[in-house]
């Protein structure tokens, strides 16, 4: 698979757009919380999230002002292969989706395979494929046995 190294940055015209977006999302989350608390039946449940929501909105507004006035040059996603990052996270989430029907080991085998492919930068040959697959099976079986039988965790 060809390596796709992408330099990704959130800076646009000297502004730290990424920070602005994150802080705006925090403000949005605060507003959603303030709406959500109106549906609670007990005032004891309302006070704390309301206070926290206002605090988050206030801090995020200050973050936006500070970031607008003095944008940070260091922020951004940096170098690296996006497909590897996405493969790692996607296979872990797919494993969670499959787990209830497919069982724990088959589901986590998908996540393990995704992690193996994502982390291998040196390329694959028959020997490395066999060695790493065998190691993976041994590690998964070992931990599965530890949790399922020794610790009594009811793994699906």
């Amino acid at each position: 698979m060809p390596r796709q190294t992408i330099e990704t940055s959130s800076r646009s015209g000297g502004k730290d757009v990424g920070t602005l977006i994150v802080a705006s999302l925090f403000i949005g989350l605060g507003l959603i919380t303030l709406h959500d608390v109106t549906t609670y039946s007990d005032t004891d449940s309302v006070v704390f999230p309301t206070f926290v929501a206002y605090a988050m909105i206030f801090c995020s507004v200050l973050v936006i002002i500070a970031s607008w006035l003095r944008p940070s040059r260091d922020n951004g996603f940096g170098n690296g292969d996006w497909w590897r990052r996405l493969l790692l996270v996607a296979t872990m989430l797919v494993a969670c989706a499959i787990m209830p029907v497919g069982g724990f080991l088959p589901a986590t085998a998908i996540a393990f395979a995704g992690g193996l492919i994502a982390a291998r930068h040196e390329g694959w040959d028959a020997r490395s494929a066999v060695v790493f697959s065998a190691s993976g099976i041994a590690i998964m079986a070992g931990f599965y046995a530890l949790f399922r039988f020794a610790l009594g965790v009811p793994l699906p």
Partner: protein
């Protein structure tokens, strides 16, 4: 207490149990997701057939070993094996990244042993008087204690205080998700059944600390940790020297850990964070906390292991568990027919003192076993190829998070939160303030609401929040911890300016 209790603790069976407990606890504690509570809970059934003193020694050894074991993954993988080791990641992982992971592991071991000894000493000598401290803490004191913990955000967000505060608020908000503890309202789930159980703290910790590391590791071909040439062993002597130089930090952190361990529900994570905050507040010039400062590891590890002895004080004297693993141990004692309470030290003194000496022995045994296991843990993590390390750690995060509540929802939340944490960290919103908010949020909310209700009922709301001596002491300490670094910084700046001025005059 007498010589016969020490002799009882030193029987071959009790020594073997202490050794087994420490080794098993260390290994279980080092696996992300398996907390000290789980380590104790899992091994409780094997103690039912034992004499009560031996059972207590085994459980105490597992507990102390598990608290220490959490440091391995905190240092080598940036994933706290147990919540108590959160503070260990702040400086442990940066040390490992620059090639000093072996030194960090040794320091953690020395500090854990020192903290464990101080906690056990307090249990031996001061249990009845210190247990009254736990009774003096009401809801409002817990509120102020949690706010004191939150003040750590200021020191964890160097150069980015606003983002730290926003992150802390985000963490506090995450702690509100699910069923409200006091009124049982369902909050911030937006109709999702996945969110109804709330955000499990250990799973969230694994996600926020471990997933970003994995995402960064796969993206580039660089090695995961810097490897020093020459295949060094763990640096025992260098670590001992550093620990000796920081003996005051160790003592202070151990006392903090013991006192916080006494407070029911606070636990090793709060103790470690408060001790870290104090170590940072009193840092010498040139010490860079958060960038691989050994004193940061020492403070956290000494404090979290001191909570073991401290937590047993209210457990044994009052029958109130000081920490979550103590609650499990209390249950095991009830099964054994041992009734805890103020009379235990008189009627069951033999069991208690044999156990306390057993705890001392287990803590001492932690030194050789901890350094030995640490050596192999370090070598394994450093030499294992990234290709197999990443999927193995990913697999452990899934199985470890699932095991906490047998819930797939927790695993999904862990992965999503970890990915969000990675994005946030890329824009200067560090994970630590979010974690602080998540951990301290429930303590703060419960303390606030209960204090408010009591204050309203008694018609003295202001007095409830600001009129109690312990509360005032904690408030003063919080203000001091926020203001002192600013004063210290200005004083250092002034000194530098004066020095520069006198140098300029000399040159003229």
């Amino acid at each position: 207490m007498g010589f016969e209790h020490l002799a009882n603790a030193l029987t071959l069976t009790n020594l073997a149990l202490a050794l087994f407990g420490v080794v098993a606890g260390t290994i279980i504690g080092s696996i992300p997701g398996l907390s000290a509570t789980m380590a104790v809970a899992v091994l409780v059934p094997i103690t039912f057939a034992m004499p009560p003193a031996s059972a207590l020694i085994l459980l105490g050894a597992i507990y102390t070993g598990a608290i220490y074991g959490g440091a391995y993954s905190a240092i080598l993988l940036n994933t706290p094996g147990t919540p108590s080791a959160i503070g260990t990641t702040f400086d442990g992982y940066p040390m490992a990244k620059r090639g000093d992971g072996d030194l960090a592991v040794a320091i953690a071991c020395y500090a854990s042993v020192f903290g464990g000894m101080i906690g056990a000493l307090a249990l031996l000598l001061l249990a009845p008087p210190l247990s009254s401290v736990a009774l003096a803490f009401g809801p409002v004191e817990y509120l102020w204690l949690s706010i004191f913990g939150l003040s750590l955000i200021a020191s964890l967000s160097t150069g980015n205080l606003l983002k730290g505060l926003a992150g802390g608020a985000f963490g506090l908000l995450l702690s509100c998700v699910g069923v409200a503890e006091i009124s049982a309202d369902i909050r911030l789930t937006f109709g999702s059944s996945t969110m109804i159980g709330g955000i499990e703290v250990v799973g969230a910790l694994i996600g926020l600390y471990c997933i970003p590391v994995l995402i960064d590791l796969v993206a580039t071909p660089e090695r995961h940790l810097k490897v020093e040439e020459g295949g060094r062993a763990v640096r025992f002597r260098e670590g001992a020297l550093l620990a000796w130089r920081s003996r005051f930090n160790l003592l202070r952190s151990s006392i903090i850990g013991t006192v916080i361990g006494i407070l029911p529900g606070a636990g090793g994570s709060v103790a470690g964070l408060v001790a870290y905050s104090e170590a940072k507040r009193t840092a010498k010039p040139g010490q860079k906390f958060g960038e691989g400062e050994p004193d940061g590891i020492m403070a956290t590890e000494a404090a979290n292991n001191a909570t073991v002895g401290g937590g047993f004080i209210p457990t044994l004297v009052l029958g109130i568990p000081g920490t979550p693993p103590d609650a499990v141990i209390l249950g095991a004692l009830l099964v054994q027919g041992v009734r805890t309470g103020p009379t235990l030290f008189d009627s069951g003194g033999s069991i208690v003192y044999t156990f306390i000496f057993g705890l001392f022995i287990a803590t001492i045994l932690m030194l050789p076993t901890g350094l030995l296991i640490g050596r192999y843990a370090y070598k394994t993590i450093v030499t294992i190829p990234k290709t197999i390390l990443v999927p193995s750690v990913g697999f452990m995060t899934i199985i470890g998070t699932f095991a906490i509540r047998n819930s797939i929802s927790d695993v999904i939340i862990m992965i999503v939160l970890g990915t969000v944490g990675w994005v946030l960290s890329r824009f200067g919103f560090a994970a630590s303030p979010i974690v602080l908010g998540l951990i301290l949020g429930p303590i703060a909310e419960q303390g606030f609401v209960q204090a408010w209700i009591i204050g309203e009922a008694t018609g003295n709301l202001t007095g409830m929040f600001f009129g109690r001596p312990i509360s005032l002491a904690i408030i003063a300490f919080t203000v001091l911890s926020l203001v002192y670094p600013v004063i210290q910084g200005r004083r250092a700046k002034k000194l530098l300016e004066m020095q520069a001025g006198s140098n300029a005059k000399t040159d003229d």
